[in-house]
């Protein structure tokens, strides 16, 4: 039962009628009950449109959306057991906190004392007990966010949609709210579908990340596999920072980068296939001259607090390293890498179709 799909998207395409632009292209997706799924991508990648179609604010041009196996494509938002936490909170300015949260329950015509009990309980859950009579405008951004979450989950929806809910908060508050959200998720046991362009947020909270670009799913998987094994240059570039460099796969476990043969662990490529080589900056190590796979000139060192951000020019490529140990700008150093930290990817056949081929 735990593995059943609560939301399913089947061949969903959204074309905006006014300018003909395609926001989502033939998307297929299944979200399991109780899962925390994140749509991650740059602005305009179709993630918010997908969320709005699940909520019912936008209708797919073609394809269907299923909830518990039932087609809900044509159902208006008020008929779906799905609630949304909006980007800018969208609290009702003319209602106080209590009435904001009770809005959905009152529409369901629940008895007054039951509403009161539920509102009190949910306010405690989001750590806002005692704020019932307050006006929405008197709250800070973080507090408004908590009320927005409370207003949605008090209806006990089957799915909670969150549209960049932490986007307007400052960094410190955002980190705190991430932990809060995960705690709330555990307490209410509702399926969360989360939209963000912040990869840190996605990696921290999600069970599964759907990376999107140009209306197409680029890769889906758990945070570790998304980060460690990006399947194309877009994902590698978007998630974290990466060195992406051209290479030639000579044979299994041997790749040629800038004329240097480097050991790796990837197999299954054509002999002499042209590939993208992805190396995370934190996986590169500064060594003695000649001790690594290549040497280069240190061009720039920036102190970032937790690490040094180092640029090393080797032949025609500037390597990006993150290291605990500093290096002297202007000196020559070696760069080394462990074979398992090299990620080899097929070159996309065309720049437009960077779609992931699922195996």
């Amino acid at each position: 039962m735990a593995e059943e799909n609560i939301i399913e998207l089947r061949n969903v395409t959204k074309r905006f009628e006014d300018d003909g632009s395609i926001a989502v292209k033939d998307m297929n997706l299944a979200v399991r009950r109780g899962e925390f799924v994140t749509f991650l991508g740059p602005s305009g990648c179709g993630k918010t449109t997908t969320l709005r179609m699940i909520a019912g604010f936008d209708t797919p041009t073609s394809g269907s959306i299923l909830l518990n196996g039932r087609d809900i494509t044509a159902l208006p938002p008020n008929k779906r057991p799905i609630n949304t936490v909006f980007q800018r909170y969208a609290l009702f300015p003319h209602l106080n906190i209590y009435d904001n949260i009770a809005f959905g329950l009152k529409l369901k015509k629940l008895p007054e004392d039951e509403i009161r009990e539920k509102v009190t309980r949910v306010l405690e859950m989001v750590d806002m007990a005692g704020f019932e009579k307050r006006n929405t405008q008197t709250l800070s951004g973080g507090q408004q966010q908590r009320v927005a979450i409370a207003r949605a989950i008090v209806n006990e929806p089957e799915v909670l949609l969150l549209d960049e809910p932490l986007g307007a908060l400052d960094l410190k508050l955002r980190m705190g709210m991430q932990r809060e959200l995960m705690r709330i998720k555990k307490e209410v046991n509702i399926t969360f579908i989360y939209v963000t362009h912040d990869q840190g947020e996605a990696l921290t909270m999600s069970d599964r990340i759907i990376v999107m670009n140009k209306g197409i799913i680029q890769q889906e998987g758990d945070p570790v596999s998304i980060y460690d094994e990006p399947q194309n240059a877009f994902v590698a570039d978007f998630i974290g920072e990466s060195n992406i460099i051209d290479g030639i796969m000579l044979k299994d476990c041997l790749v040629r980068i800038q004329g240097i043969d480097v050991e790796c662990v990837d197999t299954g490529f054509e002999p002499n296939e042209k590939v993208d080589v992805v190396i995370r900056p934190e996986d590169l190590v500064v060594t003695e001259l000649g001790a690594g796979f290549t040497d280069g000139l240190v061009t720039e060192v920036t102190y970032e607090g937790a690490y040094y951000d180092i640029r090393v020019q080797a032949a025609d490529y500037e390597w990006h390293l993150q290291s605990n140990v500093s290096a002297m700008p202007g000196t020559r150093v070696g760069i080394s890498i462990l074979p398992e930290n090299i990620q080899i990817m097929h070159k996309p056949r065309s720049s437009d179709e960077e779609i992931l081929k699922k195996d």
Partner: protein
């Protein structure tokens, strides 16, 4: 020294403007209380002309017609113009510019052109009478409604409507509880602007009305051709007072103040 001179001139200029604008109206108001048929002799204070004004059946009917026509045409224009404003708002840039141009033409067009062209149109299709005047008034009222509503629609917070739908409100409920209150200021000012314009109009009414239909302005025009009677001063004073009060309501309505939008005040 120079500053004081500039101050004096600007103050003098302002007072001059006020005199030219309002002195004639004040004279008319004064004459409406003048107990004499002469325009140059003060015969003492009287409410006589107001008395005859309201006992005159012709004037009463014209007043009723004017107010009824203004309210009805503004209400119809509010519905049509409101729908149009939402439609224009949803348009892309090109359609938007074209529609706003079309909206502005009747505002800038000379009343006589609008009046005559509507008349030509009406005599082909419907008999001139109350209906033709009503349609004419609705026609020229729609742009005022659109101009008052469109900025409000543009400023509107749409996400609270979506939030209400998300929490279980029907489309109608969401519209009435979330969208309409946000537009209240624009609706009130647009409606009263239309009422004022309708009551104010002479030219278009004159060309599109049939026999027997008279608003205050067309009636006064007819009366004045027979010679000016003091009742007309009283009547004009009443119209001025009504318009003045409406202006005050529009400018100081709480909905308008909250939005902090001063543009609606500029009728």
């Amino acid at each position: 020294m120079k500053k004081r001179l500039v101050d004096f001139i600007s103050r003098f200029y302002f007072i001059l403007i006020m005199i030219f604008l309002y002195a004639p109206i004040l004279v008319m108001v004064a004459l409406s209380f003048n107990d004499s048929r002469s325009r140059v002799v003060w015969g003492g204070f009287t409410l006589r002309w107001y008395g005859t004004l309201f006992s005159n059946r012709q004037i009463r009917e014209a007043l009723l017609m004017t107010v009824g026509l203004a309210l009805l045409s503004s209400f119809i224009a509010l519905i049509i113009g409101g729908a149009a404003a939402f439609g224009i708002h949803a348009m892309r840039r090109k359609g938007y510019v074209v529609m706003m141009g079309i909206t502005n033409i009747p505002l800038l067009n000379a009343d006589i052109v609008t009046g005559i062209s509507l008349m030509l149109w009406f005599i082909r299709f419907i008999p001139l009478g109350f209906n033709s005047v009503l349609i004419a008034h609705v026609t020229f009222n729609i742009p005022y409604i659109i101009l008052a509503l469109l900025p409000k629609i543009e400023q509107m917070n749409r996400s609270i409507y979506e939030a209400s739908r998300d929490l279980g409100a029907s489309a109608a409920r969401g519209f009435f509880t979330m969208i309409l209150p946000q537009l209240a200021g624009g609706i009130i000012s647009g409606f009263f602007m239309a009422v004022t314009m309708s009551m104010d109009d002479f030219m278009i009414t004159y060309f599109t009305k049939g026999a027997g239909v008279n608003t205050l302005s067309t009636m006064i025009y007819g009366e004045i051709r027979k010679g000016i009677k003091p009742e007309m001063y009283a009547l004009s004073t009443v119209i001025f007072a009504v318009v003045f009060v409406i202006l005050l309501i529009v400018n100081f309505s709480p909905a308008n103040k909250k939005a902090g939008n001063k543009r609606e005040g500029m009728i």
